[in-house]
Amino acid sequence: MRCWRNAHDGYHWIFRARMRVAILVPGLAPYDAVSNDTLGMTAALRALGHEVALFAPHAQGIAEPVHPPTAVEHWLRSPDDVVIYHYCIGWDFPLALFRRTKARRVLRYHNITPPEFFVGWSDGYVAACTEGRAQIGEYAALACELYLGCSPFNLEDFTARGVDPARCRVLPPFHHVEDLLKSPTDAQRLSHTDGAPQLLMVGRIAPNKGDMDLIDALAVCRQTLDPRTRLLRVGKLDPNLERYGVAVREHVRARGVEDHVLNLDNAGTAELRAAYAAADALVMLSAHEGFCVPLIEAMALGTPVIAYGSSAVAWTLGDAGLLWDTPDPYLVASSIARLHTDLTFRAMVRELGFARYRSTFAPEVLAGGLRDAMAQLERSRV
């Protein structure tokens, strides 16, 4: 029987009894990447025939029953059950749970921004990120049955701390890109039709997102390419990072690009889609990303990507865009110029993006990856 199972890993999973899977997450809210991954994973597991329940301290706008975290241990009845924790901040409760539970433990790691990025901008963020990253070592020491990273970059945090690579697996996050593809467009706030180059950045305004380099790139574009060049900035500023927001606004003023930055801080799906359609490229100069969902949104929607290949960005983008080893504003400006004027090259980059999205990040690919991960988990019990 053992030999049969080893020889037919792809099939024996089908005949296993369904598992009970508890998913624990720090919070659930619409338009949140971790929430999208949690809900997508829930749906995929249910499609595989498993019983799934969600546990979170708070949830808003989620059409799904969510239980309090304290109920998770009562819900887990058997050592064959599975608990998946979406690790993205410091939280003692899951760490204690993982220490005492007999169920199989899956650590879904979204990464935590290093606190160095927030030094001088927010003491609270520094404390929270320090606390969050301090738990990486403790989770590594627990030897969980599976470490499920959103990217190879994320898993390095655990392999560097001695976790067996055989317990590690990459599964890109579930996402709502297909909803974005089906969405109508709302371009009311993007009514420029003068043919000027447009840069797009999607993501919250935070010190690790490369906002200063992005503003420099816009200034260089205006100097060397077209003085009408604009930046479409989709994303919010956390009130706790107001000091950083002030510094960004000051930099915008110093570069003289105040009238060329369009902030879309409360963009809905339709407006986000219109922004991708209007842009010459998504410019991602972030210095730290655990995965970077906007990259796959751009690839799926046919918007070329220009990116600084930091952290997980290089893996997520792969060869499907213009990836540079530095956030040099001149490289960005020249890349924009090429994409704006060379339609053959632009079409090629778009095709590469479509292909990478379909081959690596399409929902059916992610569901297959999750099925394989659960099969690996199953084998760990054998």
Partner: protein, 459 residues
């Protein structure tokens, strides 16, 4: 358009972009502007309700509020700032998970940030230590059980106090409910009044709708009239291409006609030129020259003595200047006009003042009583009734007592007069009668002595 991925092509484009970026960096360097250092960034307003000067609390001062308000107050008192979202969420989750307030306070107070600030909270340390002790497996459970058991009397007291507080709260709630009911009643009355106003507004809206319908009918009528006018205009516009065609045709005909006239005029001018050349050749013949010389000699003998010294003489149709030359030799100031271009040219070559042009037109331009004599070979007179006009101007131009020598000889230019339908040479007797009738006094004796000419004096 093919967009087949090609690593070589992709890398080549990237190399080109890199080269363009290097060139752009040299061409348009970005002014150095370091982002403002974070510490130098403007601090948020200090009017945030945080008492930064106070660093000493009793634990009871911090445990009054509940849930999120408790956490927010703890951040402000212990970390001297408002709670950030991740930090607040983490502590709220602890409370929701059954942690004591002392544990939350201890977490903040003994965090790296809290230790750096160093706020003193009297009574916190032992409670925090106990809270942490309860987290130790087995031992923690026993300690928590013992503490709970030991605290039962106090718990009972708290329970009774809570009952009392709840009862008081219930009374307050009832009173508030009564106030709310009264308020709702007032709202109901207001709503009724509002309903009355709403009906009035609806009536106004009805009147406005009627007015708008009337206006709409007026506009519709005007639109129909405009449509009819538009149809008429359209009909006219349909005829416009045909009209344009006619105008183009007329224009074409007009241009053709102008070209024909120009051709005719050009041919006539060429013919006149050739005729003048022929006459000039005839004029040179020996017989004509001899006859002319004899005639001029006679004319000069009869006229010269009648002219004052330095007399001013106008000659009309004087030929090649041989007659004018004779007068000039006698001291007269002579101006001549000759229709034949070739003869006029010959006269000018002799140094005489002779212009090529219409003699009669020249006569009409001369001032009144401005010359002492007019001499004419008669070929200078136009056709038809122009002779009377000619005499009239001659009389006007001559000074009182001035002389008119009116030639009637049939010299070679007579040929041109015949061709051009001019009056040409007259019979001397007839010319003399005409001059008498025109206000001149013909010198009969002299006229008889002259050959083919009449000499007359202005009366």
């Amino acid at each position: 358009m093919s967009a087949e991925p090609s690593d070589d092509y992709f890398e080549r484009v990237k190399a080109e972009i890199r080269a363009e970026a290097d060139a752009a960096r040299l061409r348009a360097p970005l002014p150095r502007k370091d982002p403002p250092p974070s510490d130098a960034a403007e601090r948020p307003s200090r009017n945030d309700g945080v008492d930064r000067a106070r660093l000493d609390y009793a634990i009871g001062e911090l445990t009054g509020p509940h849930y999120a308000a408790f956490v927010e107050n703890a951040f402000r008192c212990l970390l001297k700032r408002a709670a950030d979202e991740p930090g607040r969420d983490a502590q709220v989750r602890l409370l929701a998970g059954g942690a004591s307030k002392a544990e939350v306070l201890g977490n903040l107070r003994y965090s790296p940030e809290g230790r750096r600030i160093g706020t003193r909270v009297r009574g916190l340390l032992p409670r925090y230590a106990l809270a942490k002790l309860t987290r130790v497996p087995l031992v923690g459970y026993a300690v928590e059980w013992a503490m709970t058991f030991a605290g039962l009397p106090m718990l009972l007291r708290h329970q009774r106090a809570a009952d009392t507080q709840a009862a008081a709260g219930l009374d307050e709630t009832r009173a508030a409910l009564a106030q709310l009911t009264a308020h709702l009643d007032r709202q109901g009355a207001d709503q009724q009044a509002l309903g009355g106003r709403l009906e009035q507004v609806q009536q106004d809206v009805g009147s406005l709708r009627v007015y708008l319908e009337q206006r709409a009918e007026t506009v519709e009528g005007r639109a129909r009239a405009l449509e009819i006018r538009s149809d008429k205009t359209e009909t006219l516009l349909r005829d416009l291409p045909e009209l344009r065609h006619y105008i183009h045709a007329i224009n074409h005909w007009s241009v053709s006609l102008q070209r024909s006239f120009a051709d005719v005029e050009s041919t006539a001018a060429a013919d006149a030129e050739r005729t003048d050349a022929l006459i000039a050749s005839m004029y040179e013949s020996p017989d004509a020259t001899a006859e002319r010389e004899a005639r001029f000699a006679t004319w000069l003998s009869l006229l010269a003595d009648r002219l004052p010294e330095n007399a001013r003489v106008l000659d009309l149709g004087g030929g090649d200047g041989s007659w004018i030359a004779r007068l000039a030799e006698r001291g007269a100031e002579v101006s001549g006009f000759e229709t034949n271009r070739f003869l006029a040219e010959r006269a000018r070559l002799r140094g005489l003042d002779v212009a090529n042009g219409d003699p009669f037109a020249a006569l009409t331009r001369y001032a009144d009583a401005s010359v002492d004599a007019i001499t004419s070979s008669s070929t200078a007179i136009g056709s038809g009734d122009a002779i009377a006009h000619w005499f009239e101007h001659a009389r006007r131009v001559l000074k009182p007592g001035g002389w008119l020598l009116f030639g009637c000889a049939a010299d070679p230019r007579r040929f041109g007069d015949l061709l051009r339908n001019r009056a040409g040479a007259f019979e001397p007797a007839l010319a003399g009668a005409a001059l008498n009738a025109a206000g001149f006094a013909v010198d009969a004796a002299a006229s008889r002595a002259l050959r083919d000419a009449v000499l007359a004096q202005r009366a």
